[in-house]
Amino acid sequence: MHQLSQQIFSGLAAGAIYASLALALVMIYRSTELVNFAQGEMAMFSTYVAATLVDAGLPFWVAFLVTLLVSFLAGMAIERVVIRPVENAPALAAVVVCIGLLLIFNSLAGWIFTYTVRDFPSPFPDRPVLGALMTTRDLGVIGVTLVMLLMLFAFFRFTATGLAMRAAAQNPDSARLCGIPVGRMLAIGWGLAAAIGATAGIMVAPVLFLDPNMMGGVLLYAFAGALLGGITSPVGAVVGGLIVGVTENVVGTYLIASQLKLTVALALIILVLVLRPNGLFGTAIVRRV
């Protein structure tokens, strides 16, 4: 029983990472109806930027903030330059562009930073806490994620730009009629998503160790979590990510055939989706005939 609780709690820490990346995916989906398959690789690249800054001697949290800023700007630039040409193209073209972006980031990271697996420092010490149910590092990760989520919530709820972004995502035509520069809102959305991804990458790198293929599995679980929660629901993204994190951990511990962990975890998630095809919090898209 104690082991199960332990797995559940450390699953929450992994789940926090999946929840962050899932939130980034949902944000982009809400505004552009596009699943950004490159989100994981962008996050990985940001993590390498942070690693480079730390190697250069910057204190961890300074490197963290600088990386967030750089990622935000890069995310905006990517939306403007790479994504905008296919925003109104057939959906498949946009999917292919995201796949292309994935390959580009992965390959560039391997070229610039090499494929050698390396360490990444964690700002949190790794000590057991709560009667060995969790470690301080787990708590730190969950804490950072919580702070980020609260800031995002406040941004969208209480600021004029946040409101304008929500409007632009819901109804771009009406938003333009209010004078809202919808294109710029989309760019900001991508920037925020990139910054969120960077946070997720930096939080997970100490555990997974940094290499260009670090985020592949994370993205997959985040995608599953986002869909489990409902691809249009930010709350769903967080809940879905947490559930996936716990499921992955529990399955990994109790499953004899550990090579099949990913398969079994995904199968369970899909089983839930068969029962609720729009996710736990998603709304069915009601189409007027």
Partner: protein
């Protein structure tokens, strides 16, 4: 008085098809002009051309500025408030959030305008925290108009405000619009299928048919034109 909005030889296109074939329209400053016509005549297309939402050619002048090359959001920033067909409310946001969005372009922000809007539309004040999608048709129309007014516009463009509403509500809305026009000194360009009511309120009128202006003049003159009375007013 110079017209606040002037369209000269304006053509509009949906894809490859030409839908407006060179129309001339003027809206006097401080006045109300109505565009009449059957379905498919091009009334909504004209409004969309003004706001840069369809491809167009020709001259569109607003308070001395050329609008043809401007993006929709820029045109809104210049002082043109468009209440589209179907109202275009943000159904997932609250009433108050919808109104705040109207003030996006105003540097002063919504603080001063909100109380005034609630003054014109008390029902909105009562429902300020409700999700806009749960409002009735008439209330949503009021919300849409109020949101447009939050922009402190010089020109209010209304596309079929009476659509789908009971006659009593329509009268209320038009009464408010008329009051607003006088008190806020806003010019109004109105598209309506409900011709008799529109001609009562408007100063000038244009009649569109399949992309052409086939009649124009003062509202009174058009209302008395026998052809129009037969086709559009029913008597």
């Amino acid at each position: 008085m110079a017209p606040i909005l002037q369209l000269r030889a304006v053509k509009a296109y949906y894809g490859q098809s030409e839908v407006l074939h060179g129309i001339d329209i003027a809206v006097e400053e401080g006045g109300m002009t109505v565009l009449l016509g059957a379905n498919g005549a091009g009334k909504t297309t004209t409004l969309r051309a003004i706001c840069g939402m369809v491809r167009s050619e020709g001259e569109i002048l607003f308070a001395g500025q050329r609008l043809e090359r401007c993006a929709t959001e820029q045109i809104a920033g210049l002082g043109v408030a468009h209440v589209p067909e179907g109202r275009g409310t943000f159904t997932g946001l609250t009433v108050e959030e919808n109104l705040r969005l109207g003030a996006y372009t105003r540097a002063a922000g919504p603080r001063t305008s909100l109380p005034r809007m609630y003054g014109y539309f008390p029902i909105l004040a009562a429902r300020r925290r409700q999700q806009a999608g749960t409002l009735s048709g008439g209330e949503q129309q009021m919300l849409a108009i109020a949101r447009a007014l939050m922009m402190a516009p010089r020109l209010l463009v209304l596309d079929e405000p009476s659509f789908g509403l009971a006659p009593r509500i329509v009268e209320d809305i038009f009464a408010i619009v008329e009051r607003i026009r006088k008190e806020e000194n806003v010019s109004v360009l109105l598209v309506e299928q409900n011709a008799s009511l529109a001609l009562e309120l408007a100063d000038h009128a244009y009649l569109l048919e399949t992309g052409y202006v086939v009649a124009s003049g003062t509202a009174k003159a058009l209302a008395n034109e026998p052809q129009i009375r037969r086709s559009y007013l029913g008597y």
